[in-house]
Symmetry: C2
Subunit: 637 residues, 2 copies
């Protein structure tokens, strides 16, 4: 098997066809016999029939007396029958075997005893109040067919049917080799260029969920010879081999060549985003996958191609994913000719699901971690319009999504604290935040895309926060405006303020690179107000056009030298050990439409905001906040 | 805590209220720190924020050259910019750190090299083609809140955020004591009266599915002292104690008294069927459950009361069960004043779910094992009418139910073989059989309750099988009648035929007890025809009124001495080593409405029936069948 077929970049449909046909040709994994008591979620490798009947003897179904039904013939209130204890009637408890020669049970509450006799007022039928042999399971009866996923009640039935061991398919074993010179184990001391190897841990857990198990090799350097030895060795005892590429695919990617040398490459490259560089191959009849190194690519392609394989090896079909219809909160553009897997957050706000894209980088695992679902954009599509209905494959249950408060708007670190306290106090509920700026929050409320919106929009004309904007933009929406905190905005600068930034005018200096917040954010409104007041032309500020979406994004840009200064809140500066020059104290409020106020999850959240002293303490501990009005209704309409 | 409150037989609602309030008062289980790579499906015991940013250095997002964006200012097709390699431009691969002082990357395909220089035709923006620090995760950012169930992608995010260990809640530990003098370990030699102990194995698996683990004690005899010692010992290191009653509750049930001595009995008896004798208690602040011994009672009550507890101890809420609406295939009567948990099979035949009760004995675990769902009959209801819409809590997924062929009608052992071969060849599909007799099958087809019906109804007037019945009862239904087998019917008698039964007339003998099939079954039609031909009054036959529903039921009744003789098929006699006196060869056919013929699962089944030589061999091996017409269309309308 040394034939090499390099099929470059197939469509997803073609690749899935080639791969499913290949999977269907593979045998199920071997049979092993294990104790029934340890067989939960294993799969039967052959049909199991009952060894013995259950019950395997005639058992009394009641507490009472075993009798011969013939002896009770004609018994009635007026012509009671007397049966001699020990001879004609024997006391039995529920579950006791019927003594030899007896064939019915009279319930203890239906007789009374007189000396050595019991008195019966009703005749019995054969085997009345008796669980006869095989009532539950008859010997030889089929208990489980082949290819059956064993559940707790199946374990009960197998044991009841006389089995203590059961033949199941061996769990599929996946050999995993992470590769790359720059890739290091979690917990290693890090130097620039290092990549923490977590893909193998992620796919091991995915494999475990599907019923398989991974054997992970240590990280292999970019040497083709070492990789080849490890691959050959793993193929000896694994059902499936996965080689995880280092992210550095530039000059050192030997995997396709190696797989071609050792066997047959079935697919090399699929027109999907992310995940394009995936390789599917067969070596000596065993399936092999070259997994892309970017974590989202790894996640998407492992689910697409490894999941059906792991199920097949056990004799199962993978369960279908839960699909829902949702409308898209904003337009999405995608390239023709590739299938894109768009990660979205999903909220159910006004009885309808709304999907919001969360970022599209193949390297950003948080785009999957934070996602509630995935929207597949077909290769023939250039994307979707705003409010277009899309199909979402859910990553969380519908129930979880329905119990999630959708918070869109300005970012504040208090939202993280709020999310955590909500989950801590009420495990059923979650808070999901999207940071689209104060104006984004107001738009989301108007479009019924959010339950709550965080906002700190200063109206220049009146000097008032939030209310003028609400009156203008949300005038028909019955809502309450509740204060969360007052907070300090200011310049975030490097520790020690090495460039000695003191005033807004310093932003014009040649040696200063600024980092801005996105248009529509309250912080941007504040920045622009400061510039206008001083007649400063923004185009003269270096970096004005580079935008971040959160306070922490600003702080991080300053900490790492992308910029010298940005506007943000004290807490963000403190979190990364930066310095802070105060500019303004501002009010940060939450908008909540009245239609949501009576929802239990919103009530639970308001209760935490207003009454949870641990939450209050956590806000104060994070620094830079004034909570004197926390939870107070500022405005209502 | 020696207060004893014996609250006898509360309603389910009251009992759930008392128990949920008690559960809510219990602390979550302790915290333990474990490796992130082993944390799948564990629950965070505290919020986790990122230790480090990801990436933690500015990384090239492309293969190309690191440059200073200032150097590319003004570059265009007409005014290209030349950058000196090594000084102004440094080759980088994807993932490489940006060298100190560089702040953008130009893609390798956007430049060309001339000697020691690269030529650029387009100016770059700051950090273009660079994954800046924190692009995925910003240091201090919340990764997971408390009480979060860890998924594979969370493991990736935790490792990416610099964590190698994570604080999770210890898995709840359930101490389990099976009790009863008559209860024996699976695999023990059995004598009448013994009960195989499988309840503990069933609830251990249920516990594992919910995230806990069981420590099982060996079976404890009905001695209060021993039980007390074991209970006290287990309570020292378990979060929850379960004492499983022996089935024999007559004279030796110490559990309520013991729990009252050691702590507080919260609930003793709930008005549910099955499961009434359940006990809920608290000893030294730890929850304790007295589980009824009948397996269905154990299953139902453990799910009702232990499931929310196991979830709570982990800081989770149990996910809701999947509910569907179905109409009931036949009426169900239930007692006022108790909530009944009715096990039902569910089929989707003509686009609608139909639920059929499967038997109600608390001792019959197969009523759960074979069930697709449970219908709760409220305590205020006396039951449901036929075709009434009921709510079914599903035990299998909707997808599994939709991929299940519903077969109702006469029983034949070949149906077990057919079920097994279908699952073996097509893991996606199942065959579910309900044995309601040939006439029951015809009724089910007429009412769209089954995809296929097995039937062997002899028309006395014509001597023809099945077709006259179809013409009379299903005349408007387009269908095909397909032969499965010819088989022998006869008298099933004990090995060696000790009562020398040779003819129908022998059934009238005083020393002979008969066991009958239910009205509407083909075998009953045959029996009654034989009696009518001989002018025999059925009331003169002892046992004529006692009915079984399957051939194996008849064989089992004979094998165990419940009866001396019954009418059934050769295969059933052979399976239990009984003798067989042939009476008639009959044709066993399958009715399939044409509307189902094109369904892939029906096509798959027909392919097995017609072409699977292994299936044919298995039928012949089981004995007594003639398959010369297997799969042939006998009749069509």
């Amino acid at each position: 098997m040394k034939r090499r077929i390099y099929v470059k970049s197939q469509s997803l449909k073609e690749a899935l066809k080639v791969w499913s046909e290949y999977i269907a040709s593979l045998p199920y994994s071997d049979i092993e016999e294990i104790p029934v008591s340890e067989s939960l979620h294993r799969v039967t490798a052959e049909a199991v029939s009952a060894h013995i009947s259950s019950p395997f003897y005639h058992a009394s179904a009641m507490d009472g007396y075993a009798v011969r039904f013939e002896d009770t013939h004609g018994a009635s209130e007026t012509t009671p029958v007397k049966l001699k204890l020990g001879e004609q009637a024997v006391p039995v408890n529920t579950g006791n075997p019927l003594p030899e020669g007896f064939n019915a049970v009279v319930m203890v509450e239906d007789v009374h005893q007189e000396g050595d006799y019991i008195i019966i007022n009703e005749s019995l039928t054969p085997y009345q109040n008796v669980r006869t042999v095989g009532e539950d399971i008859v010997q030889t009866e089929l208990i489980l067919p082949e290819n059956h996923l064993i559940r707790p009640v199946d374990i009960a039935a197998l044991l009841a049917g006389g089995h203590t061991r059961v033949k199941v398919r061996r769990k599929p074993v996946v050999g995993v080799i992470p590769t790359g010179d720059e890739v290091v184990e979690p917990g290693s001391p890090l130097k620039p260029g290092n990549i923490i190897e977590f893909n193998s841990r992620m796919i091991s857990s995915m494999t475990a969920l599907w019923g398989g198990e991974c054997r992970r090799e240590s990280i292999t350097s970019d040497s083709k010879e070492i990789l080849k030895d490890k691959a050959i060795n793993l193929l000896n005892y694994c059902d499936f081999l996965v080689i995880i590429a280092g992210s550095s695919v530039g000059t050192k990617d030997h995997t396709p060549e190696l797989l071609g040398d050792l066997g047959e490459v079935l697919v090399h490259g699929v027109n999907i985003k992310p995940g394009k560089p995936v390789i599917l191959a067969s070596i000596n009849g065993k399936p092999v996958m070259g997994l892309p190194g970017y974590p989202v690519s790894a996640y998407i392609t492992y689910e697409l191609f490894a999941r059906p394989l792991i199920y097949h090896l056990q004799g199962l079909k993978p369960p279908s994913s839960k699909l829902i219809k949702a409308r898209l909160s904003r337009p999405v553009y995608s390239s023709l000719g590739q299938t894109e897997f768009l990660r979205v957050k999903v909220g159910k706000v006004a009885g309808e699901f709304v999907a919001s894209p969360v970022g599209r980088g193949a390297g950003a695992i948080m785009t999957v971690q934070r996602a509630d679902g995935i929207v597949e954009i077909p290769e023939g599509s250039e994307g979707f319009a705003q409010n277009e209905e899309v199909t979402v494959r859910l990553l969380r249950s519908e129930e979880e999504i329905e119990n999630t408060i959708v918070c869109i708007g300005s970012h504040d670190n208090c939202l993280d604290l709020m999310a955590n306290f909500l989950k801590k106090r009420h495990p059923l509920y979650s808070l999901s935040s999207a940071h689209l700026g104060s104006m984004g929050g107001i738009v989301a409320i108007r479009q019924s895309q959010a339950h709550i919106a965080g906002t700190h929009l200063l109206d220049e004309a009146t000097g008032e926060y939030n209310i003028p904007y609400i009156k203008r933009l949300l005038k028909d929406v019955p809502l309450v405006l509740i204060n969360l905190v007052y907070r300090m905005q200011g310049f975030i600068v490097k520790k020690g303020n090495p460039k000695n930034i003191q005033s807004v005018e310093d932003l014009l200096r040649d040696d200063i690179t600024f980092i801005n917040r996105q248009a529509g954010s309250g912080t941007r409104v504040l920045t622009d107000k400061l510039l206008r007041e001083r007649d400063i032309d923004p185009s003269r500020i270096k970096g004005y056009n580079r935008e971040e979406y959160t306070h922490m994004g600003i702080a991080s840009a300053v900490a790492t030298g992308v910029a010298d200064v940005g506007v943000g809140i004290l807490t963000a500066a403190q979190a990364l050990g930066l310095d802070f020059i105060p500019i303004a104290k501002e009010r940060y409020d939450l908008i909540i439409p009245k239609e949501h106020l009576e929802r239990p999850m919103i009530k639970a959240l308001l209760d935490i905001i207003r009454n949870d002293t641990d939450f209050h303490k956590a806000i104060l501990d994070s620094g830079g906040y004034d909570i004197s009005d926390i939870g107070k209704v500022i405005y209502e309409q």
